[in-house]
Amino acid sequence: MKTTGPMKMLTALLAVCMITAAATPVKAQNVDYTGLEALYNEPVTTSATGKPQPVSKVPVSMDIITDKEIRSSGAQDIPDLLRRYAGVDVARNFRDHADVNIRGYNQPYANRLLVLINGRQVYMDLFGMTLWNSFPVRMDEIKQIEIVRGPNSSLFGFNAASGVINIITYNPMYDDVSDVRLGYGSRGYNSFGGMKTLNLRDDMAVRFSGERTGYDEFPHNERINSTRVPDAPAKNAFQKESLNMDSQIRLTDNIFARIEAGYNQQRGDNLTIFNTARATSTHSRHIKADLSYDSGSAGVFDLTAYHNFNHMTVGRHRFNTFPEFSIANRLTSIQLSNLFSPYTNHNIRLSAEFRNNYGEGNALGKSDDDNFTINTLSGGAMWDWRISDHWSMDNAVRVDHWSTDRDFTMDTSDTKINLPSLDLEPGGTEFSFNSGIVYEVDPRSSVRFSVGRGLHVPSIVELAFDENTSAFSELYGNPTLNPEVNYTADLGYTRKFPDQNFSAGSNIVYQRIEDLIAPTVREFGPPGNPKADYTFENVGNSEAVFLELFAKGTCLDKTLNWNINYTYSLLSDSGSDNPDHRFNFEDAQPDHKINLALDYKKGPFELGTDVHFVSGIKYSAVTADFFNSYYQKDVSAYVLLNARAAYNITENTTLSLNGYNLAEEHEERPYFVQNALIGRDGANELGRTVVMSLQHRF
């Protein structure tokens, strides 16, 4: 790997940092979310603009799922929680795998949604996807989950194209949480986990957590014929172990340091790229350090550095239509930001970031050490202006310069894909922006209008994959891909009814995506002897309109909390005339979705339920198999019902019974499986599951 490029960029970054630091001081990641939530009587976030704000005042469409809502939901993982909210599309195909996107375009390997834990990216740049069960944190240590709808690349960088999920864990300095939890249920479910917060001194605290979970997969209507990966559990079962450490130190009254580290290992069946079901094994680990300095009148400086390592092994497909491969991804990010207030009612945030995204493995080239690197150097600015008591405005802009470096030559000797140069090292300079204006009609209601330009830059796999899938087909990355651009205009209205204990609102959204990146296929070979080559291409544009209505509140003397929302989606694709560009997002998006969640608590008893209606779709996908390179399947409308009953034995001990998917077994996302000699499309039917859980907090 060349070093001159990254070194030049690092030097440039340091120069930017020095200029920024000389100009003024900045922002803090050291936010006491719990305390500020108590102060403002509503959740607080930094994910909208980079400065802390009550959620009702942010200039973007946002929901925050609080720790109380997470606990009372009984949800086993984050996608199950996210599906309760307007505009969020969740398609689960395995017990441990779900594709999640915001406002449509939810394809396998959903790559337009950026997912973060405490600001650290857990979205995997390598494939351009999020493995929701590869996180090192337990559900019980999450303080809040922030859902930002619409592009937010100007704050978070590439891949915050359709939205951001920012998972905030408890801060050991402010949140003294410790527990142990045991779970046992149907379908082989077993889980054991716990966490302990230690206040070592007045100015030092640390939290340790760990969990082990295993369960049988949903019954496959077609058996997945894939070889097991190393250390895999029994066939069609899932197993994961995770460990996490989070510590915070107050070095002085105005200097804080936070260090996090974690590990996760998961093994099970998964949906791999090109919509095929395979056995996979993933190891993830990370370390993150954050230093925050509040200089007083000059503002707050925040320096963050983290390193993610992910290694994935994918089992060999039956008949060798896909050999086993392994691939590793190392992401290093260094960020500096400065939040300051030059004048009353004006806040400015300056930021700079350097990212080194390195992929290595035999799926990139031929040997295990073939690699491909994307380096990104970014600079951004945010301006928050409180114009008057009623009006406020936020503007943010970011420029990203990306470059790539490959150390292998792709073998394109027999490909039927017309790629001009497969040794290309692409790059470019991109910009993104967000602008929002909020009008507070009165203390109870506000109108918000925002526009944004977000970017999805191709993943390493999309740019540089090189896999001889079989004698009949090959899979190539495409270095000529352009970044996908998302333009969104969003008009929102929210109103609180404090006397009636509820709030309600609506969003109407126009979205245009240009240069959509999608898998494509070139079929060739004589009749009866089909062959196909696969790649990724910019296939066209798509427009969409969304209507989101939502209301939440409490009644029955505040014993019953309720949350209901409706999403209407209307998509229109406009692709090229190329017959190989077989994308179809407009028919794959449910037109209607309704979610209802109820949570009742009286004395030691708790009852809860969430019900989801999703209208039917016509799903189509390119799939890497020489018999079925492309297929379509109708997915019927379905109702998903979860329920929970709990009894608090003592103030700190809770016994709960959770039922998942109690209404009907249904398919959410078809995928391709190969059975015997003939490949067939199939899907997992989400089966009913019952889990009993005992938690003791101390």
């Binding site: 607080v44 109870r444 109407i508």
Partner: protein, 187 residues
């Protein structure tokens, strides 16, 4: 699939929703210290540097004037409300008492001074004594902050609003946490 036809029906739907959710006139604001306001005052203390790390006891005085009828009763009730709330400071006990403006300098001054809105006529005097005694002034009326008398204002309507006058606060010798500062409306 064409979008334009359905957009009209969506806009119609939005129009109807806007009518249903249209804002109504605000209720008159309650000026006595409610339990919610008392909680907010106490939660605020956590973010005042110097107070948060203080040892022992923090004294809150609720200001009254013998010249303003009813103000002493209100101050006593407010102090009782403050004392009845759980405070967010880890190792500090909070005591709340009524504090007379006339005899303010007799005895030990409080650390925090709550300025009720009906004391608005005495702002010059309050400003003088609070600066002299290095007392943090908090009001439930943002006008006190705008008038450069109070350092912190707390208003609870449909949502909580915190007002901050950094100049007045620094004159008292205190500072606030960065997150608190950037969330507040600075005047």
């Amino acid at each position: 699939m064409g979008i334009s036809i359905k957009i009209r029906s969506l806009l119609l739907g939005i129009g109807l929703i806007s009518i249903i959710l249209a804002p109504s006139s605000l209720m008159a604001q309650e000026r006595s210290v409610t339990s919610g306001e008392a909680r907010t005052v106490l939660n605020t203390l956590k973010y005042i540097r110097g107070i948060e790390r203080k040892q022992g006891e923090v004294m809150i005085g609720v200001l009254f004037s013998e010249d303003i009828p009813g103000s002493e009763v209100l101050a006593r009730r407010a102090a009782q409300e403050l004392e009845s709330q759980k405070n967010s400071l880890k190792k500090i006990k909070v005591r709340a008492v009524k504090a007379s403006l006339r005899s303010f300098q007799q005895g030990l001054p409080p650390d925090i001074l709550i300025v009720p809105s009906l004391m608005a006529g005495s702002y010059p005097r309050i400003k003088e004594v609070s600066r002299k005694n290095k007392v943090i002034t908090i009001s439930l009326d943002s006008a006190c902050v705008r008038e450069q008398v109070c350092a912190i204002g707390i208003e609870s309507g449909g949502s909580t609003e915190i007002y901050l006058n950094e100049k007045v606060l620094s004159e008292s010798g205190y500072d606030v946490d960065a997150a608190f500062k950037y969330m507040a409306i600075r005047l």
